[in-house]
């Protein structure tokens, strides 16, 4: 039985298939039609609701796409929807949006309201561009966004002492473990590793899921229901983000938003990639492990992790083993994971101060888009500026995330100069085999990959591991040579 708190009251969802989305259940079963379906793939935000999750500083409201959220994923949690916001008066987010004329047709509006609802209680929205990051998962076709931004500026971080603030401390997810079998589908959320291994022994054909930002598309777009799912969401050790002896250990089920906060002061390269990873809603549900285990050639984390020399930690009932990340990606959408084995964490050594390291993502639209080309670029040099280590990793230009080994080999031992970078850029074609599709032609992708390597040299001339400048910085920021 799925049980969760909806707008302040505990509700039960009985007799529903485990692959029912929260959106469909709200609308079809509860008649709560305020929450809208705009795309059923997490790209428009009209379905946004807030879910309380345990954050680093306590429970917090997180805006998520209810179209991708399967009902078992909210078991034991508190959910707030647009239909539950209004009390005696409008919520400040609603009030601000209405007064700014932030709604025209009104169809995206409930989703915008819920994203602003999260923003209202966020304490870290301290720059205007962060509001765009907060809002980029809510498409509006009418307003041109200016009034929506204005409303966001008014409410972001105001943390009013209202009943939503007061309810928060007691709203942390409690027991979210679950075992459910209905309509020929099985969904399990084990709370311990033993329970996980037992489930896998009994159901070796079960598929893993955490946030569901990728897997749910099979349900909402292809209308196929995976018969057996095992959620890793309740296994706390898999979610930990720690730093020990200069190595970042990044738990596989940590969300992208958690990774973003964790890396802000620890890894400029990862942080820059995560900034443009996706919408706030997606970052709240998407996970490190999910992004890597799909082994998609356009996954955003692989290139930056590859460039930093990351290691994958794989865990099964019997053992824990370590695999260099470049060996983890075996083929198109295939990884080195064995049966009954999970990706537990990624270990990323902090680069030495002498190393140059940046990650780039180029896409048709800057925010909430899939990479046309992405790159993680890393070069370390010795005292006489000779290259000791080079790792040039790319996404979107081969069947898997890929290191450009010919170019890497060509620079090792050479002085790190613009000429060296330029010469290496011309060798990228030996490893990269881009395709043409609707995101970009092969020629464009090849040209961008070359330009990024040269741009990387220029950008890191003075600051070797440049953080994202505030504001809407260009992908390759002006560096020593602007």
């Amino acid at each position: 039985m799925i049980r969760f708190n909806l707008n302040g009251a505990w509700v039960e969802a009985s007799d529903v298939a485990p692959t029912t989305t929260l959106l469909r259940w709200l609308r079809d079963t509860r008649g709560l039609s305020g929450t809208k379906e705009g795309c059923a793939e997490g790209d428009c935000g009209a379905c946004t609701v807030a879910v309380v999750e345990q954050g680093a500083k306590g429970p917090e409201y997180r805006a998520v796409n209810s179209c991708l959220l399967l009902l078992p994923m909210v078991h034991g949690k508190h959910v707030v929807t647009v239909d539950g916001l209004k009390r005696e008066q409008l919520h400040p987010a609603q009030q601000a949006l209405a007064e700014a004329l932030g709604s025209q047709c009104g169809y995206c509006t409930p989703g915008v309201v819920m994203t602003l609802f999260e923003a209202t209680y966020r304490g870290d929205l301290d720059a205007p561009w962060k509001l765009d990051d907060q809002l980029c998962g809510n498409l509006c076709r009418c307003t041109g966004y200016r009034p929506i931004r204005e409303a966001a500026q008014q409410v972001a971080g105001t943390c009013p002492a209202d009943e939503f603030s007061k309810a928060l401390p007691a709203s942390a997810p409690a027991d979210t473990s679950l075992q459910l079998e209905r309509a020929g589908q099985r969904f399990t959320t084990p709370a311990t590793f033993d329970a996980l291994w037992d489930e896998l022994d009994a159901h070796p054909d079960a598929r893993f899921v955490v946030g569901g930002t990728d897997l749910s598309l099979e349900i909402t777009k292809r209308f196929q229901a995976p018969p057996k799912l095992v959620s890793l969401e309740a296994l706390a050790p898999l979610r930990a983000l720690t730093e020990v002896d200069g190595v970042l250990r990044l738990g596989a089920t940590a969300t992208i938003s958690e990774l973003e906060a964790f890396t802000a002061a620890r890894s400029p390269a990862i942080h820059r990639m995560v900034r443009y990873f996706g919408a706030r809603q997606i970052k709240h549900r998407g996970t490190i492990g999910g992004n890597l285990c799909t082994a998609s050639p356009i996954g955003d984390l692989a290139p930056v992790f590859l460039s930093l020399g990351a290691t994958a930690v794989l865990r099964s009932r019997a053992t824990e083993r370590r695999v260099p990340l470049h060996e983890f990606f075996v083929a198109y959408r295939k990884t080195a994971l064995g049966p009954k084995e999970v990706l537990a964490a990624i270990e990323v050594p902090r680069p030495s101060p002498t190393a140059r390291s940046v990650a780039y993502k180029v896409s048709k639209r800057r925010e909430l888009d899939i990479s046309t080309v992405s790159a993680g670029l890393f070069v370390d040099t010795d005292a006489s500026n000779l290259v000791t280590v080079a790792r040039f990793a790319f996404g979107g230009v081969a069947a898997t995330p890929k290191r450009a080994t010919a170019a890497e080999r060509a620079v090792v031992g050479k002085p790190w100069t613009r000429e060296t970078a330029l010469a290496a850029s011309k060798l990228l074609g030996e490893d990269l085999t881009p395709l043409s599709d609707h995101r970009g032609s092969a020629n464009y992708r090849a040209l961008v990959a070359r330009n990024l390597l040269v741009g990387f040299f220029d950008e890191t001339l003075t600051v070797r591991q440049p953080a994202l400048q505030s504001g809407h910085a260009a992908t390759v920021q002006p560096g020593g040579l602007s």
Partner: protein
């Protein structure tokens, strides 16, 4: 106090933010649902269509094909060349072949899979170029001209030629197509539809069902966006719902999910234009000769009028001494392209703006100067290619005010300094004008009706023919009605648009919503008011009385309007009235290609500043300044919203939005995963929008001007600014080769081309 001309909140704003606002799919009416059986290929002959197995699928209630249509199997709005259900030939991938009605979407989808449909593929035309090469057209060419074009080219100091392409654009209204049909007694039906044109839905339904229009009521509560995409293209799906509801005697809903909506409904017409132009050495245009081709898709829809509007706007704000523009609509095996904000106007303007940019680049002149010296002026420089005289021209005033307020000249100098010191990033700055003709160019469509109902308690309901899709029409109408009746706006309710309240309406389109319906509402209110005046005179004991803000005043006294209406009721006075309006004095003779198709012109200008990366082709709009002419705005807050929203939508069309079909007519960009409309971060952080002051327009409702479409074309300033930034990567006088939409790829290749000139 009247709220007319004052900033107002959106009439439904509070309902939007609470989620209370109901759209068709939100209505709590139990209904059967449906799925369309789509054609699997872009062109083919149906060899076999057997729905027997589908009918047997559990949960499937019925399957309908062309055989089940009691009336005409036709949904073509102007020309009857579009079947409701394909029956022998399929002409685009996704064309409706049958409808499965079921108790659930899962059952309906299973039913679709069980339909046995065999189609023998025929050669398909899936690009505009292919259609042109094969001579595949939906219309004959239509030409507008003035002056001796051939003579003007002889000995001209500068002759340029080129080809301009503009891309398609998905409407991406957040609410997809949806219609709910409720059967009523005696074979009649009520259809609640997300449509901009309820009267046309009613008409098409009457043809499909073979009944009179009086048997059908179409209602529109509100739309979650329209932008032209629900002008004609709601009708087929509404017709399917109505057909099923009448046949089954049950409520039936037809709703398209996002992918279906994007794959099956038409978009903005892609255009390809070949042109040549003559200039003098100072950049004054002497002649323009252009052929414009539109991709109409598989059927006519509104394509002819859209192509005409491109021709009407191929001059934009410029007087071209000798001009000849010809337009023709190509026929392809793609979804039928349709109305989209601007209706061909943007495509026509994109052409002439590229011509102006090219001339300025070649001559090494500031494009702002080249543009300004070519504006329409005094006679004889004030006659268009369709021989309408341009009167009350405001572009000069807008241009100089905006150049000043945006600090164009200083910023251009600052920009040159930045560019000189920046290798990988260049800034561009440009100003472009808009002159947009207001009226349906099919002249008889310029009519509207209203029904105003005042109750004895002093509250009123207003019915009019327009539909609310977010543009704020109801907000303006409410203000007009409250003003005329002297009521407080909170006592005026604008009703769901319904064909049984106001008949024979035109689409809410062509920016005409408040111009036409506002006048009709005003007329209806005036009739009621005239009847209330004697009552008030008696109550107040005064000859001169006035109604405003909920009170009747006269003779030094004031009484609440509800006392007047109550007294009118007791005195047996009618307090409902209809109103009607038609735009005077407009016409166009297609045979001679001459006339006065537009009641007036709306004007505006925009200054855009961009930053472009020469490494990736990515760009960012840094700042935009707009000065737009909305006349004496009925509601400045609503109109600023139209300007901002229209501008960003135009920026989307011209930059990030790319409609891509594969070679087989399958839409590769059929969801927001692959089709990118602007997101929040794409809006410039410096975005200054102002409405022109002291700009009342004579002959239009309360001195206002239409504002729905014109601002979209202000986005051409971004393309002009991008061209400027691209040229900065090359040597002086670099002529830019930049495709639209200006995607990062298009821009990077343009940069490479510019660099190669150095």
């Amino acid at each position: 106090m009247s709220t007319l001309h004052q900033p107002q909140l959106h009439e439904s704003g509070k309902l939007h933010v609470t989620g209370e606002a109901r759209y068709v799919d939100d209505l709590a009416v139990p209904a059967l649902v449906a799925q369309v059986v789509p054609a699997p290929v872009a062109h083919g002959r149906i060899r076999r269509l057997d729905v027997t197995r589908a009918r047997a699928v559990p949960g499937v209630v019925a399957v309908f094909t062309h055989r089940d249509v009691p009336g005409e199997n036709q949904v073509g709005p102007v020309i009857h060349d579009e079947e409701l259900f394909a029956f022998d030939t399929v002409r685009f991938l996704g064309q409706s072949v049958a409808l499965v009605v079921a108790e659930s979407y899962a059952a309906a989808r299973a039913g679709v899979k069980a339909v046995e449909l065999e189609v023998d593929p025929l050669p398909a035309i899936t690009t505009l170029d292919e259609a042109l090469a094969k001579g595949s057209f939906l219309t004959d060419p239509h030409t507008m001209q003035r002056g001796d074009v051939e003579a003007a080219f002889v000995g001209a100091p500068l002759v340029l030629q080129g080809q301009v392409r503009t891309g398609g654009q998905d409407h991406f209204y957040l609410e997809t197509q949806c219609s709910l049909a409720l059967p009523e007694e005696g074979g009649t039906v009520r259809v609640i539809s997300s449509t901009q044109h309820p009267s046309e839905v009613q008409t098409i339904l009457s043809h499909v069902l073979g009944v009179g229009r009086s048997s059908i009521v179409v209602e529109v509560p509100r739309m979650g966006g329209g932008f032209g995409g629900k002008e004609t293209q709601a009708a087929p799906y509404a017709a399917m719902a109505a057909l099923a509801a009448v046949k089954l005697r049950k409520a039936v809903k037809v709703w398209l999910n996002r992918d279906q909506d994007m794959m099956w409904t038409g978009k903005r017409h892609p255009f390809l234009s070949n042109w040549r132009a003559a200039f003098d050495a100072q950049g004054r245009i002497l002649a323009l000769d252009a052929k414009l081709y539109a991709d109409g898709g598989f059927s006519s829809d509104l394509s002819r009028a859209i192509c005409d509007r491109a021709l009407y706007h191929a001059d934009n704000a410029y007087f071209v001494p000798a001009i000849r523009v010809t337009g023709q609509v190509a026929k392809t095996n793609l979804p039928s392209n349709t109305a989209f904000r601007g209706f061909g106007g943007p495509q026509g303007m994109a052409l002439v703006e590229e011509v102006m940019s090219r001339a300025a680049e070649r001559l090494g002149l500031d494009p702002a100067t080249v543009r300004a010296q070519n504006f329409y002026g005094d006679a004889p420089r004030n006659v268009t290619q369709y021989h309408q005289t341009v009167t009350e021209n405001r572009i000069g005033r807008i241009w100089s005010e905006l150049l000043e307020s945006s600090r164009y000249a200083q910023r251009r100098a600052e920009l040159e300094a930045f560019n000189a010191g920046s290798a990988h990033h260049k800034w561009g700055l440009a100003i472009t004008p808009v002159k947009f003709g207001i009226s349906f160019t099919t002249s008889f469509l310029n009519q509207a009706g209203a029904l105003v109902v005042v109750y004895a308690d002093g509250t009123a309901q207003v019915n009019h023919g327009g539909t609310e899709m977010g543009q704020g029409l109801h907000t303006k109408i409410r203000a007009i009605a409250a003003h005329e009746l002297g009521l407080d706006v909170s006592d005026v309710r604008v009703m769901t648009t319904a064909t049984d309240k106001v008949p024979n309406t035109s689409a809410t389109a062509a920016s005409s919503g408040s111009d036409l319906n506002g006048q009709a509402v005003k007329a209806a209110c005036e009739t009621v008011r005239e009847r209330l005046v004697p009552i008030a005179q008696k109550l107040l004991g005064a000859e001169a009385v006035s109604f405003a803000g909920g009170f009747a005043t006269g003779g030094g006294k004031a009484v609440p309007m509800r006392e007047v209406t109550q007294a009118a009721y007791l005195a047996q006075v009618s307090m409902s009235a209809t109103g009607y309006y038609r735009t005077p004095g407009i016409n166009y003779d297609r045979a001679t290609a001459k006339g006065k198709p537009f009641h007036y012109f709306a004007y505006g200008a925009a200054v855009a500043e961009v930053e472009l990366s020469g490494l990736t082709g990515e760009h960012r709009v840094r700042r935009v300044d707009i000065l737009h002419d909305a006349g004496r705005s009925l509601s400045p807050s609503i109109d600023v919203g139209q300007v901002e929203g229209g501008f960003i939508q135009g920026v989307g069309w011209l930059t990030c939005e790319e409609v891509r079909f594969d070679g087989k007519g399958f839409l590769a960009t059929h969801s927001p995963d692959t089709y990118k409309i602007p997101a929040c971060g794409d809006t410039p952080t410096e975005f200054h929008v102002k409405l022109l002051e002291n700009a009342a327009q004579e002959g239009v409702i309360h001195g206002s001007k239409a504002v729905g479409e014109p601002p979209l074309m202000l986005a051409l300033s971004v393309v002009a600014a991008l061209r400027h930034a691209v040229s900065a990567f090359g040597p002086a006088k670099t002529e830019v080769e930049l495709a639209m939409p200006c995607t990062p790829e298009a821009l990077l290749f343009a940069v490479e081309h510019a660099k190669s000139k150095g």
